[in-house]
């Protein structure tokens, strides 16, 4: 496993194999093989694009749903999580320590879609004790990327 390659890809998945090889002083073949191996092992789980959906101007929201559940004997939380994460509209599911059990994140849905999903799919599950739905008003930073700040090089052009 090559964490240097991972660190580069994590911030820019569009980097070419050649760029990565040049930046790390490695052979292209070696880098390509390492990436392939990490993809096969699911260390690299995908290459996604960071999108500021607010700029797309549709009425889409991001919802964080807190869920309390009663774990079933012999099944624990994993089985319940599976029933939740298999819904394709769910973008993330986390098991939590604290006042509730799961955080479920829905992204890029309309208000109506979120409320239908919570009331028709989540709340009715027998293990679910309660749900609390929170909506994101504005995203400032996501995955380490600060939104909406244009960065200009303000250095003087030539400095000794």
């Amino acid at each position: 496993m090559n964490t240097e390659i991972l660190k580069l890809l994590e911030t820019d998945s569009k980097l070419s194999v050649k760029d990565i090889a040049d930046m790390l002083g490695l052979d292209e073949e070696k880098v390509a093989a390492d990436i392939k191996a990490m993809e096969d092992k699911k260390v690299i789980c995908g290459y996604h694009t960071m999108i500021d959906w607010d700029k797309v101007a549709e009425e889409k929201v991001t919802a964080l749903i807190e869920i309390k559940v009663t774990p079933q004997r012999g099944q624990g939380f994993d089985k319940i999580a599976e029933r939740i994460y298999n819904f394709e509209e769910v973008s993330a599911v986390y098991l939590m320590a604290g006042a509730f059990d799961f955080t479920v994140i829905l992204q890029g849905k309309t208000l109506k879609e979120v409320s239908m999903f919570v009331s028709n799919k989540l709340a009715v599950m027998e293990t679910v004790v309660s749900t609390s739905t929170n909506f994101v008003l504005k995203k400032y930073k996501d995955h380490g990327i600060i939104f909406d700040v244009e960065k200009k090089d303000e250095r003087l052009a030539i400095i000794p």
Partner: protein, 391 residues
């Protein structure tokens, strides 16, 4: 009216990069690889500490030498990193950038006619600062084949009975060269034997690559007494605009440097000093992050130069490459001027850092990979045209 100017200042040449600066400023679409400062913002915890100090109303002078806590942390840090022990009460001085440290050291140490040995190519301020302090600069021409390290033979050849100081600046701006412990040992011996002091400008000390770490000449036995360490926060913590550096020197020198500093400056900026406490105490991880990033760009440029056949020794420090352009048969100045006009890419001709920089360019890699990729494309187009014409 009589001439308002001193002979000394009139004899000092203006900086060779002024011309390029003026052209680039008129060229918004130009890319510049001419910047000698980090492209990172100062890490937030440091900025936050500066903001907090302003909120608390810490807007007064500090003592001339600087905040006691900061001096103490600097000395602890320096001991931990480079193994030399300085007494923070008497041997440390906060300055307005490393630049001021060089100036006050020279002014505290030189009498008229004293010679200062300056290996070139080097940072632009050493020669003028020596002249302003009444000293006589004696330059040494460092060699590409020695990877721009100072050799004992070169040093010995430059020493006269008037030699008082050697200015040693590694990792080097503009060459990116470093000097290892083995390289420094004979230099230290000569300095002791010939009774020469060393001003060691270590502003790029944190930026070394390829498994090398910085070694200070002050760490050799008998050298602390004759070494003035100049360092600062600009390059290591991306704090250029804060204007904060420091000098570590034996008490007898530090006291007189403080005298010059006290009358010229009073004290280094208070806000910057408070922010710097956070840098020196909690900044190791920031340095490492930036260093790793520079190293990737260094590799990227080395590979690009190799592919276009532009000879360049592998620099192990700072964030500069110093490729050789002698094959094209034009001066550094002409090369840089035409590169700017024809491809809108600004670099600094090697001659800005001393006459012996002729035939070289300084290329900074304190830029994003995207910018570097675009810039390498432009330089490759340019040299391909030159080669076709020369063929």
């Amino acid at each position: 009216m009589r001439n308002p100017l001193s002979k000394t200042i009139q004899d000092i040449k203006p900086s060779g990069i002024r011309k390029f600066f003026d052209i680039v400023s008129e060229m918004p679409e130009a890319i510049s690889l001419g910047v000698g400062e980090p492209d990172f913002d100062t890490p937030w915890h440091i900025r936050e500490e500066g903001i907090y100090s302003l909120e608390k109303g810490r807007t007064f002078y500090t003592s001339n030498s600087g905040l006691l806590e900061l001096r103490e942390e600097i000395c602890k840090w320096y001991k931990r990193k480079y193994g030399v022990d300085y007494d923070y009460r008497h041997e440390a001085l906060l300055t307005v950038g490393g630049s001021e440290g060089i100036d006050v050291a020279l002014r505290a140490m030189l009498d008229p006619g004293d010679e200062v040995i300056i290996p070139e190519p080097c940072y632009v301020s050493y020669v003028p600062c020596v002249e302003l302090a009444g000293g006589v600069p004696v330059t040494i021409e460092l060699k590409n084949e020695n990877e721009f390290r100072l050799t004992p033979e070169e040093l010995l050849a430059a020493i006269t009975d008037k030699t008082k100081i050697l200015i040693l600046a590694y990792p080097s701006n503009p060459t990116g060269a470093i000097m290892t412990k083995e390289d420094l040992a004979p230099i230290a011996d000569i300095c002791k034997e010939k009774d020469i002091f060393v001003i060691s400008d270590e502003i790029y000390s944190e930026l070394t690559y390829g498994g090398y770490t910085h070694c200070t000449i002050g760490s050799f036995p008998g050298m602390k007494e004759r070494t003035i360490i100049i360092n600062g926060f600009s390059k290591a913590y991306a704090m250029t605009g804060w204007r904060l550096g420091y000098a570590l020197a034996p008490q007898v020198i530090a006291e007189q440097m403080t005298k010059v500093h006290q009358f010229a400056i009073m004290c280094a900026p208070t806000t910057s000093q408070y922010a710097a406490i956070s840098a020196i105490k909690e900044g190791d991880k920031d340095i490492e992050k930036m260093r790793e990033s520079y190293d990737k760009r260094r590799h990227f440029l080395l590979k690009a130069f190799e592919e276009m056949g532009l000879p360049c020794f592998e620099p192990k420090g700072a964030f500069y490459m110093f490729p050789c352009i002698k094959e094209f048969g034009i001066t550094s100045d002409e090369f840089a001027t035409r590169l700017l006009q024809e491809e809108k890419l600004a670099v600094v001709p090697g001659t800005a850092f001393g006459d012996c920089g002729e035939g070289f360019l300084r290329i900074s890699y304190a830029y994003s990979i995207d910018e570097l990729r675009e810039a390498m494309g432009r330089i490759e187009r340019f040299i391909t045209r030159l080669r076709e014409k020369n063929a």
